[in-house]
Protein backbone atom coordinates (compact mmCIF):
# COMPACT_ATOMS: atom_id res chain seq x y z
CA UNK A 1 0.00 0.00 0.00
CA UNK A 2 1.31 3.43 -0.94
CA UNK A 3 1.79 5.90 1.91
CA UNK A 4 0.46 9.43 1.53
CA UNK A 5 1.94 10.46 4.87
CA UNK A 6 4.90 8.87 6.59
CA UNK A 7 5.81 10.04 10.08
CA UNK A 8 9.19 8.81 11.40
CA UNK A 9 10.44 9.12 14.98
CA UNK A 10 8.85 12.52 15.52
CA UNK A 11 9.21 14.29 18.85
CA UNK A 12 7.79 17.69 19.72
CA UNK A 13 7.78 19.54 23.04
CA UNK A 14 5.91 22.84 23.47
CA UNK A 15 8.02 25.77 24.69
CA UNK A 16 7.76 26.04 28.53
CA UNK A 17 6.60 22.44 28.78
CA UNK A 18 8.57 19.60 30.32
CA UNK A 19 6.93 16.54 28.80
CA UNK A 20 6.91 16.07 25.03
CA UNK A 21 3.45 16.40 23.44
CA UNK A 22 4.54 13.97 20.71
CA UNK A 23 7.05 11.39 21.84
CA UNK A 24 9.12 9.51 19.26
CA UNK A 25 6.05 8.75 17.19
CA UNK A 26 6.06 6.86 13.90
CA UNK A 27 2.97 6.32 11.76
CA UNK A 28 2.26 5.55 8.11
CA UNK A 29 -1.01 6.78 6.63
CA UNK A 30 -2.01 5.00 3.41
CA UNK A 31 -3.36 6.66 0.29
CA UNK A 32 -7.16 6.79 0.23
CA UNK A 33 -7.72 5.21 3.61
CA UNK A 34 -10.11 6.54 6.24
CA UNK A 35 -8.05 6.66 9.41
CA UNK A 36 -9.40 7.62 12.83
CA UNK A 37 -7.01 9.07 15.38
CA UNK A 38 -8.48 8.83 18.88
CA UNK A 39 -7.24 9.57 22.38
CA UNK A 40 -8.17 11.71 25.36
CA UNK A 41 -7.81 15.50 25.61
CA UNK A 42 -4.08 16.19 25.81
CA UNK A 43 -2.99 12.87 24.22
CA UNK A 44 -1.31 14.68 21.32
CA UNK A 45 -3.98 14.49 18.60
CA UNK A 46 -4.10 18.22 17.88
CA UNK A 47 -0.32 18.55 18.09
CA UNK A 48 0.07 15.79 15.53
CA UNK A 49 -2.34 17.62 13.19
CA UNK A 50 -0.33 20.83 13.55
CA UNK A 51 2.91 18.97 12.79
CA UNK A 52 1.42 17.35 9.67
CA UNK A 53 0.16 20.72 8.45
CA UNK A 54 3.51 22.35 9.22
CA UNK A 55 2.04 24.87 11.66
CA UNK A 56 4.74 23.73 14.09
CA UNK A 57 8.06 22.07 13.32
CA UNK A 58 9.30 18.71 14.71
CA UNK A 59 12.14 18.88 17.27
CA UNK A 60 13.42 15.65 15.74
CA UNK A 61 12.25 13.09 13.19
CA UNK A 62 10.70 13.59 9.76
CA UNK A 63 7.27 13.85 8.16
CA UNK A 64 6.90 12.87 4.53
CA UNK A 65 3.83 14.02 2.60
CA UNK A 66 3.14 12.57 -0.85
CA UNK A 67 6.75 11.44 -1.19
CA UNK A 68 8.43 14.61 0.03
CA UNK A 69 9.95 15.21 3.45
CA UNK A 70 8.51 18.54 4.61
CA UNK A 71 10.83 21.41 5.51
CA UNK A 72 10.61 25.21 5.61
CA UNK A 73 11.18 25.42 1.84
CA UNK A 74 8.42 23.14 0.64
CA UNK A 75 5.84 23.41 3.44
CA UNK A 76 3.50 25.62 1.40
CA UNK A 77 3.52 23.14 -1.43
CA UNK A 78 2.80 20.30 1.01
CA UNK A 79 0.03 22.28 2.68
CA UNK A 80 -1.83 22.59 -0.64
CA UNK A 81 -2.30 18.82 -0.51
CA UNK A 82 -4.03 19.03 2.87
CA UNK A 83 -7.39 20.49 3.84
CA UNK A 84 -8.45 20.82 7.47
CA UNK A 85 -12.01 21.08 8.78
CA UNK A 86 -11.93 22.40 12.33
CA UNK A 87 -14.11 21.75 15.35
CA UNK A 88 -16.01 24.97 15.79
CA UNK A 89 -18.08 25.87 12.73
CA UNK A 90 -18.24 29.49 13.91
CA UNK A 91 -14.49 29.94 13.89
CA UNK A 92 -13.82 29.22 10.25
CA UNK A 93 -15.80 31.75 8.26
CA UNK A 94 -14.31 34.81 6.63
CA UNK A 95 -16.67 35.54 3.74
CA UNK A 96 -19.93 37.51 3.82
CA UNK A 97 -21.66 34.86 1.71
CA UNK A 98 -21.31 31.11 1.44
CA UNK A 99 -19.73 31.36 -2.04
CA UNK A 100 -17.23 34.03 -0.94
CA UNK A 101 -16.21 31.79 1.82
CA UNK A 102 -15.66 28.77 -0.38
CA UNK A 103 -13.70 30.99 -2.80
CA UNK A 104 -11.32 32.16 -0.07
CA UNK A 105 -8.88 29.24 -0.34
CA UNK A 106 -8.83 29.47 -4.14
CA UNK A 107 -8.19 33.21 -4.02
CA UNK A 108 -5.22 32.51 -1.79
CA UNK A 109 -3.90 30.14 -4.42
CA UNK A 110 -4.31 32.84 -7.10
CA UNK A 111 -6.88 30.96 -9.21
CA UNK A 112 -8.30 33.20 -12.02
CA UNK A 113 -11.84 34.49 -11.45
CA UNK A 114 -13.80 32.61 -14.12
CA UNK A 115 -12.18 29.33 -13.15
CA UNK A 116 -12.82 30.12 -9.51
CA UNK A 117 -16.57 30.67 -10.02
CA UNK A 118 -16.84 27.28 -11.69
CA UNK A 119 -14.89 25.50 -8.99
CA UNK A 120 -16.83 27.13 -6.16
CA UNK A 121 -20.07 25.99 -7.77
CA UNK A 122 -18.72 22.49 -8.17
CA UNK A 123 -17.56 22.30 -4.57
CA UNK A 124 -20.91 23.54 -3.25
CA UNK A 125 -22.65 20.97 -5.41
CA UNK A 126 -20.51 18.20 -3.93
CA UNK A 127 -21.68 19.08 -0.41
CA UNK A 128 -25.25 19.74 -1.59
CA UNK A 129 -25.25 23.40 -0.51
CA UNK A 130 -25.49 25.14 -3.92
CA UNK A 131 -28.91 26.63 -3.14
CA UNK A 132 -27.38 28.47 -0.16
CA UNK A 133 -24.56 30.14 -2.05
CA UNK A 134 -25.66 33.75 -1.54
CA UNK A 135 -26.60 33.24 2.12
CA UNK A 136 -24.70 34.66 5.06
CA UNK A 137 -22.78 31.71 6.59
CA UNK A 138 -23.85 32.84 10.07
CA UNK A 139 -27.50 32.10 9.19
CA UNK A 140 -26.78 28.39 8.62
CA UNK A 141 -27.15 25.49 11.05
CA UNK A 142 -24.03 23.87 12.50
CA UNK A 143 -24.15 20.93 10.09
CA UNK A 144 -24.64 23.25 7.11
CA UNK A 145 -21.70 25.39 8.25
CA UNK A 146 -19.45 22.35 8.43
CA UNK A 147 -20.57 21.27 4.95
CA UNK A 148 -19.63 24.73 3.64
CA UNK A 149 -16.28 24.44 5.42
CA UNK A 150 -15.78 21.07 3.70
CA UNK A 151 -16.68 22.68 0.35
CA UNK A 152 -14.00 25.32 1.00
CA UNK A 153 -11.52 22.53 1.58
CA UNK A 154 -12.68 20.49 -1.46
CA UNK A 155 -12.41 23.51 -3.77
CA UNK A 156 -8.65 23.49 -3.26
CA UNK A 157 -8.56 19.82 -4.38
CA UNK A 158 -6.54 18.37 -1.52
CA UNK A 159 -5.33 14.75 -1.44
CA UNK A 160 -5.85 14.60 2.32
CA UNK A 161 -8.69 15.95 4.45
CA UNK A 162 -8.15 16.20 8.19
CA UNK A 163 -11.39 16.33 10.17
CA UNK A 164 -10.25 17.80 13.48
CA UNK A 165 -13.19 16.92 15.74
CA UNK A 166 -15.38 18.53 13.07
CA UNK A 167 -18.58 16.84 14.20
CA UNK A 168 -18.20 17.22 17.96
CA UNK A 169 -20.22 20.45 18.15
CA UNK A 170 -23.05 19.33 15.91
CA UNK A 171 -26.46 18.04 16.87
CA UNK A 172 -27.25 14.43 15.89
CA UNK A 173 -28.77 15.48 12.54
CA UNK A 174 -25.86 17.74 11.66
CA UNK A 175 -23.41 15.02 12.56
CA UNK A 176 -25.17 12.52 10.33
CA UNK A 177 -25.23 14.83 7.28
CA UNK A 178 -21.49 15.51 7.61
CA UNK A 179 -20.59 11.82 8.00
CA UNK A 180 -22.87 10.82 5.12
CA UNK A 181 -21.11 13.45 3.02
CA UNK A 182 -17.68 12.01 3.82
CA UNK A 183 -18.89 8.50 2.99
CA UNK A 184 -20.19 9.71 -0.38
CA UNK A 185 -17.01 11.68 -1.20
CA UNK A 186 -14.94 8.57 -0.61
CA UNK A 187 -17.01 6.71 -3.19
CA UNK A 188 -16.81 9.51 -5.73
CA UNK A 189 -13.11 10.36 -5.57
CA UNK A 190 -9.71 9.31 -4.32
CA UNK A 191 -9.12 11.02 -1.03
CA UNK A 192 -7.44 10.23 2.28
CA UNK A 193 -9.52 11.04 5.35
CA UNK A 194 -7.88 11.51 8.74
CA UNK A 195 -10.55 11.96 11.35
CA UNK A 196 -9.60 13.12 14.82
CA UNK A 197 -12.40 12.25 17.22
CA UNK A 198 -13.46 11.24 20.72
CA UNK A 199 -16.58 9.58 19.43
CA UNK A 200 -16.09 5.84 19.38
CA UNK A 201 -19.32 5.32 17.41
CA UNK A 202 -18.00 7.55 14.64
CA UNK A 203 -14.85 5.45 14.26
CA UNK A 204 -16.93 2.49 13.06
CA UNK A 205 -17.02 4.17 9.66
CA UNK A 206 -13.24 4.22 9.31
CA UNK A 207 -10.94 1.43 8.17
CA UNK A 208 -8.26 1.82 10.80
CA UNK A 209 -8.02 3.32 14.28
CA UNK A 210 -4.87 4.68 15.86
CA UNK A 211 -5.03 5.33 19.62
CA UNK A 212 -2.71 8.01 21.00
CA UNK A 213 -1.75 8.33 24.64
CA UNK A 214 0.91 10.66 26.05
CA UNK A 215 2.13 11.49 22.58
CA UNK A 216 2.67 7.89 21.49
CA UNK A 217 0.78 5.39 19.36
CA UNK A 218 -0.49 2.80 21.85
CA UNK A 219 -2.85 0.87 19.56
CA UNK A 220 -3.11 0.65 15.77
CA UNK A 221 -5.66 -1.74 14.33
CA UNK A 222 -9.00 -2.21 12.58
CA UNK A 223 -12.10 -1.03 14.50
CA UNK A 224 -13.20 -4.49 15.69
CA UNK A 225 -9.83 -5.23 17.31
CA UNK A 226 -9.83 -1.83 19.00
CA UNK A 227 -13.36 -2.34 20.36
CA UNK A 228 -12.27 -5.72 21.70
CA UNK A 229 -10.04 -3.82 24.13
CA UNK A 230 -13.24 -3.33 26.12
CA UNK A 231 -13.02 -1.46 29.43
CA UNK A 232 -9.31 -0.83 28.76
CA UNK A 233 -10.48 1.90 26.35
CA UNK A 234 -11.31 4.14 29.30
CA UNK A 235 -7.58 4.27 30.13
CA UNK A 236 -7.21 6.20 26.88
CA UNK A 237 -10.13 8.53 27.70
CA UNK A 238 -12.48 6.63 25.41
CA UNK A 239 -15.80 5.01 26.02
CA UNK A 240 -16.64 1.44 25.16
CA UNK A 241 -18.98 1.31 22.19
CA UNK A 242 -22.63 1.32 23.26
CA UNK A 243 -23.23 -2.22 21.98
CA UNK A 244 -20.32 -3.53 24.09
CA UNK A 245 -21.69 -1.86 27.21
CA UNK A 246 -25.09 -3.46 26.61
CA UNK A 247 -23.53 -6.85 25.86
CA UNK A 248 -21.43 -6.71 29.05
CA UNK A 249 -24.51 -5.94 31.13
CA UNK A 250 -26.28 -9.00 29.70
CA UNK A 251 -23.57 -11.67 29.69
CA UNK A 252 -24.36 -12.98 33.18
CA UNK A 253 -27.85 -14.04 32.03
CA UNK A 254 -27.95 -14.06 28.23
CA UNK A 255 -25.73 -16.31 26.16
CA UNK A 256 -23.80 -14.18 23.67
CA UNK A 257 -20.83 -14.85 21.34
CA UNK A 258 -17.40 -13.77 22.62
CA UNK A 259 -15.77 -10.51 21.53
CA UNK A 260 -17.09 -7.28 20.06
CA UNK A 261 -20.55 -7.29 18.49
CA UNK A 262 -21.93 -4.29 16.66
CA UNK A 263 -25.55 -3.27 17.37
CA UNK A 264 -27.00 -5.35 14.58
CA UNK A 265 -25.06 -8.46 15.61
CA UNK A 266 -26.04 -7.94 19.23
CA UNK A 267 -29.76 -7.62 18.38
CA UNK A 268 -29.56 -10.90 16.39
CA UNK A 269 -27.68 -12.68 19.18
CA UNK A 270 -30.26 -11.59 21.76
CA UNK A 271 -33.07 -12.80 19.50
CA UNK A 272 -31.28 -16.12 19.04
CA UNK A 273 -30.75 -16.53 22.74
CA UNK A 274 -34.36 -15.60 23.44
CA UNK A 275 -35.84 -18.00 20.82
CA UNK A 276 -33.88 -20.87 22.40
CA UNK A 277 -35.52 -20.33 25.73
Amino acid sequence: MENIISIKDVTYTYPDSEAPAINNLSLDIHSNEWLSIVGKNGSGKSTLTKLIDGLIECDSGTIEIAGQIIDEENIWEAREKIGIVFQNPDHQFVGATVEDDVAFGLENQGVPRNKMIKEVDQALQMVDMQSYKTRDPQSLSGGQKQRVAIAGVLATKPQIIIMDESTSMLDPNGRKTVLDLIKRLRKEQEITIISITHDIEETQLSERIVVLNDGRVVEDSDPKAIYDLGPELTNFGLEEPFSSQVANSLRDTVELPEGYLNEEELVKSIWKSSSNM
Partner: protein, 284 residues
Amino acid sequence: MEIIFKHVTHAYEANNPLAALGLDDVSVDIKDKKFTAIIGKTGSGKSTLVRHINALLKPTSGTIMVGDREINAETNNKNLKSLRKNVGMVFQFPESQLFEDTVEKDIMFGPMNFGVSEEDAKTAAHDMIKLVGLDEKYLSKSPFDLSGGQMRRVAIAGVLATHPETIILDEPTAGLDPVGRKEIMDLFKNLQTEGRTIILITHNMDDVANYADEVVVMHDGKKIAEGTPMEVFNNQKLLTDDMLTLPQSAIFAQKLSQKYFNFDQLPITISDLSTEIKRQINGD
Protein backbone atom coordinates in the same frame (compact mmCIF):
# COMPACT_ATOMS: atom_id res chain seq x y z
CA MET B 1 -34.71 29.02 43.45
CA GLU B 2 -37.77 28.20 41.47
CA ILE B 3 -37.81 29.84 38.03
CA ILE B 4 -41.18 30.55 36.45
CA PHE B 5 -41.67 31.74 32.87
CA LYS B 6 -45.13 33.26 32.29
CA HIS B 7 -46.16 33.82 28.67
CA VAL B 8 -42.68 34.92 27.67
CA THR B 9 -42.23 36.15 24.12
CA HIS B 10 -38.95 37.43 22.75
CA ALA B 11 -38.77 39.18 19.37
CA TYR B 12 -35.22 39.63 18.14
CA GLU B 13 -36.04 42.89 16.37
CA ALA B 14 -38.89 44.21 18.43
CA ASN B 15 -39.86 46.92 15.90
CA ASN B 16 -40.03 44.64 12.92
CA PRO B 17 -43.45 42.93 12.71
CA LEU B 18 -42.01 40.21 10.45
CA ALA B 19 -39.08 39.41 12.73
CA ALA B 20 -38.88 35.81 13.82
CA LEU B 21 -39.76 35.16 17.45
CA GLY B 22 -36.90 33.79 19.52
CA LEU B 23 -39.48 32.74 22.10
CA ASP B 24 -43.18 32.45 21.41
CA ASP B 25 -45.47 32.55 24.45
CA VAL B 26 -43.40 30.21 26.62
CA SER B 27 -44.70 29.27 30.06
CA VAL B 28 -42.58 26.85 32.00
CA ASP B 29 -41.79 26.11 35.62
CA ILE B 30 -38.19 25.12 36.39
CA LYS B 31 -38.23 23.44 39.76
CA ASP B 32 -35.96 24.33 42.65
CA LYS B 33 -32.97 22.01 43.27
CA LYS B 34 -33.80 19.82 40.29
CA PHE B 35 -31.68 18.91 37.27
CA THR B 36 -33.60 20.19 34.25
CA ALA B 37 -32.48 19.49 30.67
CA ILE B 38 -33.54 21.77 27.82
CA ILE B 39 -33.52 20.02 24.47
CA GLY B 40 -34.54 20.82 20.89
CA LYS B 41 -32.98 21.25 17.48
CA THR B 42 -30.43 23.95 16.66
CA GLY B 43 -32.33 27.25 16.47
CA SER B 44 -35.29 26.02 18.55
CA GLY B 45 -34.87 28.71 21.24
CA LYS B 46 -32.98 26.81 23.95
CA SER B 47 -30.21 29.36 24.40
CA THR B 48 -32.64 32.28 24.07
CA LEU B 49 -34.73 30.76 26.85
CA VAL B 50 -31.94 30.39 29.38
CA ARG B 51 -30.45 33.82 28.60
CA HIS B 52 -33.62 35.29 30.10
CA ILE B 53 -32.92 33.72 33.48
CA ASN B 54 -30.05 36.07 34.29
CA ALA B 55 -31.51 38.91 32.19
CA LEU B 56 -28.88 38.75 29.46
CA LEU B 57 -31.97 38.96 27.30
CA LYS B 58 -35.23 40.57 28.35
CA PRO B 59 -38.69 39.46 27.28
CA THR B 60 -40.64 41.52 24.75
CA SER B 61 -43.69 40.51 26.76
CA GLY B 62 -44.40 38.22 29.70
CA THR B 63 -42.46 37.79 32.93
CA ILE B 64 -39.83 35.56 34.44
CA MET B 65 -39.76 35.04 38.20
CA VAL B 66 -36.35 34.00 39.51
CA GLY B 67 -37.08 33.30 43.17
CA ASP B 68 -38.88 36.48 44.21
CA ARG B 69 -37.22 38.60 41.57
CA GLU B 70 -39.26 39.57 38.53
CA ILE B 71 -37.77 40.15 35.07
CA ASN B 72 -39.95 41.80 32.44
CA ALA B 73 -39.65 44.09 29.42
CA GLU B 74 -39.07 47.09 31.71
CA THR B 75 -36.34 45.50 33.83
CA ASN B 76 -33.51 47.96 34.26
CA ASN B 77 -29.94 46.95 33.45
CA LYS B 78 -28.85 48.33 36.79
CA ASN B 79 -28.97 46.25 39.95
CA LEU B 80 -28.64 42.96 38.13
CA LYS B 81 -25.55 42.00 40.11
CA SER B 82 -27.31 40.08 42.86
CA LEU B 83 -29.34 38.18 40.26
CA ARG B 84 -26.24 37.31 38.24
CA LYS B 85 -24.36 36.26 41.35
CA ASN B 86 -27.10 33.74 42.06
CA VAL B 87 -27.37 32.49 38.51
CA GLY B 88 -24.07 31.24 37.13
CA MET B 89 -23.82 30.57 33.44
CA VAL B 90 -21.34 28.33 31.64
CA PHE B 91 -21.51 29.07 27.93
CA GLN B 92 -20.43 26.84 25.08
CA PHE B 93 -16.65 26.84 24.86
CA PRO B 94 -16.24 28.78 28.10
CA GLU B 95 -12.47 28.64 27.66
CA SER B 96 -12.81 31.44 25.13
CA GLN B 97 -13.71 33.70 28.06
CA LEU B 98 -10.44 33.12 29.94
CA PHE B 99 -8.26 36.22 29.92
CA GLU B 100 -6.09 36.59 33.05
CA ASP B 101 -2.40 35.64 33.09
CA THR B 102 -2.78 32.96 35.74
CA VAL B 103 -5.45 30.37 36.40
CA GLU B 104 -5.78 31.64 39.97
CA LYS B 105 -6.53 35.22 38.90
CA ASP B 106 -9.00 33.96 36.35
CA ILE B 107 -11.00 32.00 38.92
CA MET B 108 -10.76 34.91 41.39
CA PHE B 109 -12.15 37.43 38.91
CA GLY B 110 -15.81 36.44 39.35
CA PRO B 111 -15.94 36.52 43.16
CA MET B 112 -13.97 39.80 43.32
CA ASN B 113 -16.27 41.34 40.72
CA PHE B 114 -19.12 40.56 43.13
CA GLY B 115 -17.30 42.27 46.01
CA VAL B 116 -15.62 39.30 47.72
CA SER B 117 -12.28 40.14 49.41
CA GLU B 118 -9.07 39.10 47.68
CA GLU B 119 -8.30 36.66 50.45
CA ASP B 120 -11.68 34.92 50.22
CA ALA B 121 -11.49 34.88 46.43
CA LYS B 122 -8.12 33.16 46.71
CA THR B 123 -9.60 30.53 49.03
CA ALA B 124 -12.44 30.03 46.54
CA ALA B 125 -9.92 29.53 43.73
CA HIS B 126 -8.12 26.83 45.73
CA ASP B 127 -11.38 25.07 46.58
CA MET B 128 -12.82 25.26 43.08
CA ILE B 129 -9.74 24.04 41.18
CA LYS B 130 -9.87 20.83 43.21
CA LEU B 131 -13.62 20.55 42.76
CA VAL B 132 -13.28 20.52 38.97
CA GLY B 133 -10.63 17.80 39.17
CA LEU B 134 -7.40 19.75 38.63
CA ASP B 135 -4.36 19.87 40.91
CA GLU B 136 -3.66 23.11 42.82
CA LYS B 137 -0.33 23.42 40.99
CA TYR B 138 -2.31 24.61 37.95
CA LEU B 139 -3.26 27.83 39.78
CA SER B 140 0.08 29.48 38.98
CA LYS B 141 0.01 28.50 35.29
CA SER B 142 -1.23 30.63 32.44
CA PRO B 143 -4.67 29.39 31.33
CA PHE B 144 -3.43 29.51 27.75
CA ASP B 145 -0.79 26.83 28.41
CA LEU B 146 -3.46 24.30 29.35
CA SER B 147 -5.10 21.73 27.10
CA GLY B 148 -8.65 22.38 25.86
CA GLY B 149 -10.15 20.07 28.47
CA GLN B 150 -8.19 21.70 31.30
CA MET B 151 -9.17 25.20 30.14
CA ARG B 152 -12.81 24.10 30.19
CA ARG B 153 -12.45 23.02 33.82
CA VAL B 154 -10.82 26.32 34.80
CA ALA B 155 -13.65 28.27 33.17
CA ILE B 156 -16.23 26.16 35.03
CA ALA B 157 -14.32 26.71 38.29
CA GLY B 158 -14.58 30.45 37.66
CA VAL B 159 -18.36 30.26 37.42
CA LEU B 160 -18.66 28.02 40.50
CA ALA B 161 -16.40 30.32 42.55
CA THR B 162 -19.23 32.82 43.07
CA HIS B 163 -21.31 30.00 44.64
CA PRO B 164 -24.36 30.49 42.41
CA GLU B 165 -27.57 28.77 43.58
CA THR B 166 -28.62 28.12 40.01
CA ILE B 167 -26.15 26.92 37.40
CA ILE B 168 -27.00 27.15 33.70
CA LEU B 169 -24.92 25.03 31.35
CA ASP B 170 -25.02 25.50 27.58
CA GLU B 171 -23.48 22.36 26.05
CA PRO B 172 -20.73 22.35 28.66
CA THR B 173 -19.06 19.13 27.52
CA ALA B 174 -18.87 19.66 23.73
CA GLY B 175 -15.42 18.56 22.58
CA LEU B 176 -14.41 16.86 25.84
CA ASP B 177 -13.31 13.24 25.71
CA PRO B 178 -15.86 10.75 27.09
CA VAL B 179 -14.04 10.19 30.37
CA GLY B 180 -13.68 13.96 30.91
CA ARG B 181 -17.31 14.45 29.93
CA LYS B 182 -18.49 11.96 32.50
CA GLU B 183 -16.37 13.61 35.21
CA ILE B 184 -17.85 17.02 34.44
CA MET B 185 -21.42 15.69 34.29
CA ASP B 186 -20.92 13.86 37.61
CA LEU B 187 -19.60 17.11 39.08
CA PHE B 188 -22.81 18.93 38.11
CA LYS B 189 -24.93 16.08 39.46
CA ASN B 190 -23.03 16.33 42.77
CA LEU B 191 -23.59 20.07 42.91
CA GLN B 192 -27.29 19.37 42.50
CA THR B 193 -27.29 16.82 45.32
CA GLU B 194 -25.66 19.49 47.47
CA GLY B 195 -28.68 21.72 46.82
CA ARG B 196 -28.08 23.63 43.59
CA THR B 197 -30.53 23.96 40.72
CA ILE B 198 -28.99 22.75 37.45
CA ILE B 199 -30.26 23.72 34.00
CA LEU B 200 -28.53 21.95 31.11
CA ILE B 201 -28.85 22.64 27.40
CA THR B 202 -27.73 19.58 25.49
CA HIS B 203 -27.95 17.55 22.30
CA ASN B 204 -26.76 14.45 24.12
CA MET B 205 -29.88 12.42 24.87
CA ASP B 206 -27.92 9.85 26.86
CA ASP B 207 -26.88 12.62 29.26
CA VAL B 208 -30.54 13.65 29.52
CA ALA B 209 -31.53 10.05 30.35
CA ASN B 210 -28.70 9.56 32.84
CA TYR B 211 -28.68 12.87 34.69
CA ALA B 212 -31.88 14.91 34.30
CA ASP B 213 -34.96 14.89 36.56
CA GLU B 214 -37.02 17.03 34.21
CA VAL B 215 -36.91 17.79 30.47
CA VAL B 216 -38.24 20.77 28.52
CA VAL B 217 -38.53 20.32 24.74
CA MET B 218 -38.31 23.44 22.57
CA HIS B 219 -39.25 23.83 18.90
CA ASP B 220 -39.47 27.02 16.82
CA GLY B 221 -39.36 29.18 19.94
CA LYS B 222 -42.21 27.29 21.60
CA LYS B 223 -42.22 24.86 24.48
CA ILE B 224 -43.75 21.72 22.96
CA ALA B 225 -43.37 19.27 25.84
CA GLU B 226 -42.11 18.83 29.39
CA GLY B 227 -41.91 15.99 31.86
CA THR B 228 -39.51 13.40 33.21
CA PRO B 229 -37.00 11.89 30.73
CA MET B 230 -39.06 8.65 30.78
CA GLU B 231 -42.26 10.54 29.90
CA VAL B 232 -40.70 12.72 27.21
CA PHE B 233 -38.83 9.89 25.45
CA ASN B 234 -42.02 7.86 25.44
CA ASN B 235 -44.15 10.69 24.06
CA GLN B 236 -45.45 9.12 20.85
CA LYS B 237 -46.51 12.40 19.30
CA LEU B 238 -43.03 13.91 19.62
CA LEU B 239 -41.50 10.78 18.09
CA THR B 240 -43.95 10.63 15.19
CA ASP B 241 -43.43 14.34 14.47
CA ASP B 242 -39.65 13.81 14.49
CA MET B 243 -39.19 16.40 17.24
CA LEU B 244 -36.86 14.24 19.26
CA THR B 245 -33.84 12.00 19.00
CA LEU B 246 -33.88 9.09 21.44
CA PRO B 247 -31.19 7.88 23.82
CA GLN B 248 -29.20 4.94 22.42
CA SER B 249 -30.88 2.46 24.78
CA ALA B 250 -34.35 3.43 23.52
CA ILE B 251 -33.27 3.10 19.88
CA PHE B 252 -31.82 -0.31 20.67
CA ALA B 253 -35.08 -1.37 22.34
CA GLN B 254 -37.01 -0.30 19.23
CA LYS B 255 -34.77 -2.52 17.09
CA LEU B 256 -35.19 -5.46 19.48
CA SER B 257 -38.96 -5.15 19.45
CA GLN B 258 -39.11 -6.11 15.75
CA LYS B 259 -39.04 -9.72 17.02
CA TYR B 260 -39.84 -11.52 20.29
CA PHE B 261 -39.57 -8.40 22.44
CA ASN B 262 -42.18 -5.89 23.44
CA PHE B 263 -41.59 -2.70 25.42
CA ASP B 264 -44.58 -0.92 26.96
CA GLN B 265 -42.21 1.91 27.85
CA LEU B 266 -38.91 2.37 26.00
CA PRO B 267 -36.02 1.99 28.44
CA ILE B 268 -33.73 5.03 28.31
CA THR B 269 -30.59 3.91 30.15
CA ILE B 270 -28.36 0.88 29.66
CA SER B 271 -29.25 -0.52 33.07
CA ASP B 272 -33.02 -0.21 32.42
CA LEU B 273 -32.55 -1.78 29.00
CA SER B 274 -30.56 -4.68 30.38
CA THR B 275 -33.01 -5.32 33.24
CA GLU B 276 -35.92 -5.37 30.83
CA ILE B 277 -34.20 -7.69 28.30
CA LYS B 278 -33.37 -10.16 31.10
CA ARG B 279 -36.92 -9.98 32.45
CA GLN B 280 -38.42 -10.75 29.05
CA ILE B 281 -35.96 -13.58 28.32
CA ASN B 282 -36.60 -15.20 31.66
CA GLY B 283 -40.29 -14.83 30.81
CA ASP B 284 -41.76 -14.16 34.23
